[in-house]
């Protein structure tokens, strides 16, 4: 077990090292195959830019603003997504009413919402949060509906013969049975909310890590583009990990099942 873990760790490290060396080499010689590397900053330039920004308050402000938008949008999306999903999963009527909206709105990419969101919402901030919210909403909503629908009928029946009312069945059977699916929706929703946020921040705003990245391009500070990208990736991964961590104790029973 431990040896296998060490081996996998070593392979992962080696793979990353090869990627880094390739990046260094391609930018160093300014490779110009069909893709051009001559304007791509070197790993060293990116590293020193990152180091520089880490010493700046303004950089943390960008991150904080983005995180705040994510938190607000995600909180609303998960409350509404889980709440509506639970109801729609149990009630055919509500599901019939909700599904058309899901089918129509879900495939619209976040970027396509930008013009309308700016027109609709009173402030730039609220339009960005709205776009972020939409991205997080659908995976959470759909996975919740799916989880509720998949509740094994036999468990509902068992609860009925034990004397459970409809409300008790909902709380003690349907909710725990759909939790694994809800947790998946929450994790996916977190990931999607980041790329929706980025879409919103690139077009508008004065703060936010997406704005930082796009602004670096406009100001021709190329290393900062990559700095922004790395930070976005890191924040996305960390926040998804945080969601999984929060859900973990609720799903302890599932690990026993394997």
């Amino acid at each position: 077990m431990v040896r296998a873990a060490v081996l996998h760790g070593a392979i992962a490290g080696l793979s990353l090292a090869i990627g880094l060396v390739f990046w260094y080499w391609a930018t160093r010689i300014g490779a110009h195959w069909f893709i051009r590397f001559d304007n791509v900053p070197t790993p060293y330039q990116v590293g020193s830019a990152l180091w520089h920004h880490l010493g700046e308050t303004r950089f943390y402000l960008h991150i904080a603003v983005s995180l705040r938008r994510i938190l607000i949008a995600y909180a609303i999306a998960s409350t509404l997504g889980i709440g509506l999903g639970l109801v729609a999963g149990r009630s055919r009527l509500v599901r019939s009413a909700v599904m058309p909206y899901i089918e129509i709105i879900r495939p619209i990419p976040a970027v396509a919402w930008i013009p309308l969101a700016i027109l609709m919402w009173p402030t730039e901030e609220s339009s960005i949060v709205y776009i972020t919210f939409l991205g997080a909403l659908f995976p959470i909503l759909l996975n919740t509906i799916h989880g509720v629908e998949q509740t094994p009928e036999i468990l509902v029946r068992a609860a009925q013969t034990l004397g459970a009312s409809r409300a008790r069945i909902f709380w003690h059977v349907v909710l725990p049975a759909s939790l694994p699916s809800i947790a998946t929706g929450l994790a996916i929703g977190m990931g999607v909310s980041w790329f929706s946020l980025l879409a919103g921040e690139i077009i508008s705003g004065q703060y936010g890590i997406g704005y930082f990245t796009w602004n670096a391009y406009s100001l021709i500070i190329y290393p900062d583009i990559v700095v922004g990208m790395i930070v976005i990736g890191l924040l996305g991964t960390l926040s998804t990990f945080a969601v999984r961590l929060v859900m973990r104790p609720l799903l302890a029973w599932q690990r026993k099942a394997r």
């Binding site: 036999i154 068992a158 609860a159 034990l162 004397g163 008790r168 003690h172 599932q254 394997r258």
Partner: protein, 275 residues
């Protein structure tokens, strides 16, 4: 019809009477409304152990589900202790063929769930659960999750969970159908021991002739097309019963009778299909 509420003061042995009167159930499958079971009437006395025996598709589970309250008959009534059944309830404990324990609850919490719903405190419910787990020999597994238990153990927890509500009727839908032969035999003996302690009425569905004769006071042989009761066979074999009774002459005689009836019915059904 006069409906009398079951008196709380009566001893346990006096509750658990099942009265099935002219019950028919229809499948609602498309245009043709075939009868799943047709015009079944049946009385089961308090404390009786009755097996519904028949091939798959004969409607024996449907009949059981009527008593459980999952299936509403198209005609006729089902009463338990003179109260008409219209929904599932804790007075009728149910043990399913598929494993039906809540996977997110520990073994103890599964058994304690019924008492908790009945308004018992956490500590009381836990004490009841522990007592019943002790009875099915699984006290040491109280803190485990169902997935950590074997199939036979899960079914024992299922039985403990059903009994923890002190139901007047215990309904069992091929509960040992998914178990291997050795586990099955052991489970049957355990069940008889529990039943002798509790004296609840048991309605037990099976397609296994040996199982039916070994367990029951009465075997009701059912047949399909539409489902009805072909014969009501008393099993006067003395209790407590040990597995070696299956070689006794009276056991074999009753078994022969059941097999003969099932065979005759199968031949009849076969002939009808080919007509």
């Amino acid at each position: 019809m006069t409906v009398t509420a079951p008196a709380e003061a009566t001893p346990r042995q006096r509750t658990g009477q099942i009265r099935i009167e002219r019950v028919s159930v229809r499948f609602d499958g498309g245009a043709e409304k075939r009868a799943a079971i047709l015009d079944i009437s049946l009385n089961i006395e308090p404390g009786e152990f009755v097996c519904l025996l028949g091939p798959s598709g004969c409607g024996k589970s449907t009949l059981l589900n009527c008593v459980a309250g999952y299936v509403r008959p198209a005609a006729g009534t089902v009463c338990v202790d003179h109260l008409p059944i219209d929904r599932p309830g804790p007075d009728r404990g149910m043990v399913f063929q598929q494993y039906s324990l809540f996977p997110w609850r520990t073994v103890c919490d599964n058994v304690a769930f019924g008492p908790r719903l009945a308004g018992k405190s956490r500590a009381e419910a836990r004490a009841i659960a522990e007592r019943f787990l002790e009875m099915v020999g699984l006290a040491h597994f109280a803190g485990r999750y169902p997935a950590e238990l074997s199939g036979g153990m899960q079914q024992r927890v299922g039985i403990a969970r059903a009994l923890a509500n002190y139901p007047s009727v215990l309904l069992m839908d091929e509960p040992f159908g998914a178990l291997d032969a050795q586990t099955r035999a052991m489970m049957q003996e355990n069940l008889l021991r529990l039943w002798s302690e509790f004296a609840t009425t048991v309605l037990f569905v099976t397609h296994d002739v040996d199982e039916a004769v070994f367990l029951a006071d009465r075997v009701l042989v059912m047949s399909a097309g539409p489902g009805h009761i072909v014969a009501d066979i008393a099993v006067p074999i003395a209790r407590p019963r040990a597995p070696d009774i299956s070689t006794s002459t009276e056991f074999i005689e009753i078994k022969r009778q059941c097999l003969g009836l099932i065979r005759a019915e199968s031949l009849r059904a076969f002939a009808e299909q080919n007509r």
